[in-house]
Amino acid sequence: MPKALPSGFSRSAVEELSRQKEEPEWMLQKRLQAWEIYEQTPTPLGRRGDLGTLRMFSNFKFQQLSPYVPSNGNGALPIAIEQSLEEALVDQRAGLVVQRNASVVRTELDEELKRQGVILTDLDSAVRDYPELVQQYFMTTCVPVNTSKYTALHAAFWSGGIFLYIPRGVEIEDPILAQIWIDSPASATFAHTLIIADEQSSVRFVEEHNSAFAGEQPSLLDDVVEVYVKNAAHVEFSNMQDLGLNVWNITNKNAVHEKDGSTTWVLADLGSKVMLSDIGVGLAGNGSAGELVGVFFTDHDQRYSINTLSDHASTATNAETLVKGVLSGESRVEFIGMIRVRPKAQQTASFLSDHTLLLSDKCRAESIPSLEIGANQVSASHGATTGKIDEEQLFYLMVRGIAREEAERIIVQGFFEPVLQRIPLENLRTRLRRSIVHRMSGSFESEADTWVDAQERWEVEGVDEYAVSLDNKPAEEEIQLMEY
């Protein structure tokens, strides 16, 4: 029966963790090497004059956290988790993994997919059952151990974890859902997701990060997502981060692509007190492509640092990064979006945009799009805007009877809507619309309904008694309120 480790990170804690897990020697060595790197790497402090997210982490009291809080896999799940599973973003799913603190407590996979050779398991088990795959892919080329001080800490203390392998040619239609839950105060959770999509396979993966515990004593989620996209494979990865304000979050996500492989990242960040997020698209294969759609909404004294990298390393690769966020309260967000075009990456097309809307006088946003171009046949562009709500737009809506506060909320909806349209998962779009409305003070439940109706439900034609047709014209002449 595994036991929680006392607070504090140390070499002996690494050894104790590995011993409790009865891990093979190679994994212990990997952890110890990572611990060495962690100890040798200076704490990152950020640039002079930035908004201070890294500096906040440098003052974070890591030594007060327990590095390992396991859960009993056989016990009943807390009500909050059970409820969240019922309200999950995915109702029809091909598989499920639930991680609670340091342990995976539930794993399910469609039987037919199992027969086709799909592997979905916790990473602890994969270390024992698929050692070759884990040795080859775990924190080697996608998110290497030494990416940052915090990825090194992750590699030393990772626990639980999700391992997904999709064999050649298998296309998984329904999404696979993963939920990561933190319900222990003063704990550190190092969740790891490793996805290997073999040639011509495809998968939709949805990961939700939530927390449920009371009190000010903060916990840490230091997670890593590694996606290997083989020839002509496609991975869609959606992440909704809705952690409580007593959770600090460091997240590193990267996808590496072979020829013609492609990835869609969808990142929705709403929660967490301080978040340090690095998302990468590594385009090493000819003709590979990456798309990143990001939405965030911050409030109170939240601090985000979001860093994206489109790394073009081969011929004819495409990347598109589109991030939109709204800040309120005294929150601060810094966004650094990098497009890197390496010398061999001819015929690159890369686009990046970042737009933020400030709802209060006390919030601050900083946006730094940058380009590093080493090839000459390149089409690359970036744009960033930061602004406040337009007074003329407000007046227009108010003249139509809508009170000022709601008019602001409607303009925020309009600000987000084009990027929400890019999110493939309807439930995620709907959940985000509701979360966005709820986060704006004074909002009414029905506003969220009206917005969702207008965007999602109007396509259903002729289902209600009020539907009328226009002068005997055929039904398709009726008002069809579709998504645009």
Binding site: D390, E391, E392, Q393, F395, Y396, L397, M398, V399, R400, G401, I402, A403, R404, E406, A407, I410, I411, Q413, G414, F415, F416, E417, P418, V437, H438, S441, G442, S443, F444, E445, S446, E447, A448, D449, T450, W451, D453, A454, Q455, R457, W458, D464, E465, Y466, A467, V468, L470, D471, E477, E478, I479, Q480, L481, M482, Y484
Partner: protein, 274 residues
Amino acid sequence: MESELIIKNLHANIEGKPILRGVDLVVKRGEVHALMGPNGSGKSTLANVIMGNPKYEVTDGEIWFKGENILEYSPDRRARMRLFLAFQYPMSIPGVSVANFLRRSLEAVREGNKPREEGENPTGQATKRRSIPPGEFRKQLQEKMRLLKVDNSFINRSINDGFSGGEKKRAEILQMALLEPEIALMDETDSGLDIDALKIVSESVNALRGPQLGILLITHYQRILNYITPDFVHVMYDGRIVKSGGKELALELEEKGYEWLRPSDEENGVAANA
């Protein structure tokens, strides 16, 4: 209650510069008033001030509507009293669909921002509010669209985003039809329209005309009055209404222009030696 809009001695500034210098005007339900005058005479300012645009500062005078002095009311409250403005330059609001916007607008104008139950008060928490079911809303919208011969595709688009000049004006009139105001201010609804669009817009206004609706039709040109016959014509010059009359006044203006109505400097309150 009488749905009268009464403007008394209205003075207003923009950025310290006086634009309205004592406007007096009464518009009743069922009447169509044309407000004419040269560019810069203050016609659009009057419409904006009546709706409470915060860009303008009212320095003197009163605006009464349905027996209440509405000067201190917010624009949305004025709208919920069933005062309407069709904008000269409607704002585009990308990402907000006409369907979403019009439903909320109709709910607000019809139901106010009252919570569903008496005594239930929105306290910053998400609360249920009176809302119009999507089907009922669609039915009402469809009726108005049919009446005004508005293309169905309007509804799928973002508010005024990428609309042509004519489409914007027709969208304004569609909103007017849906919201059923008691007094509507139409600010240069004819400007920027070619003759075909002008006919369509005029037909729409005529379709809405009736004893339930008072209209203040602001226009620079006489030509829209060939299609919409006003009951009264007023001429604005330098921030005041300098002449009022029947529909024949419009024809006289077409013939003689506005210059003959220019107030003398003395009348205008400017010192003779300035």
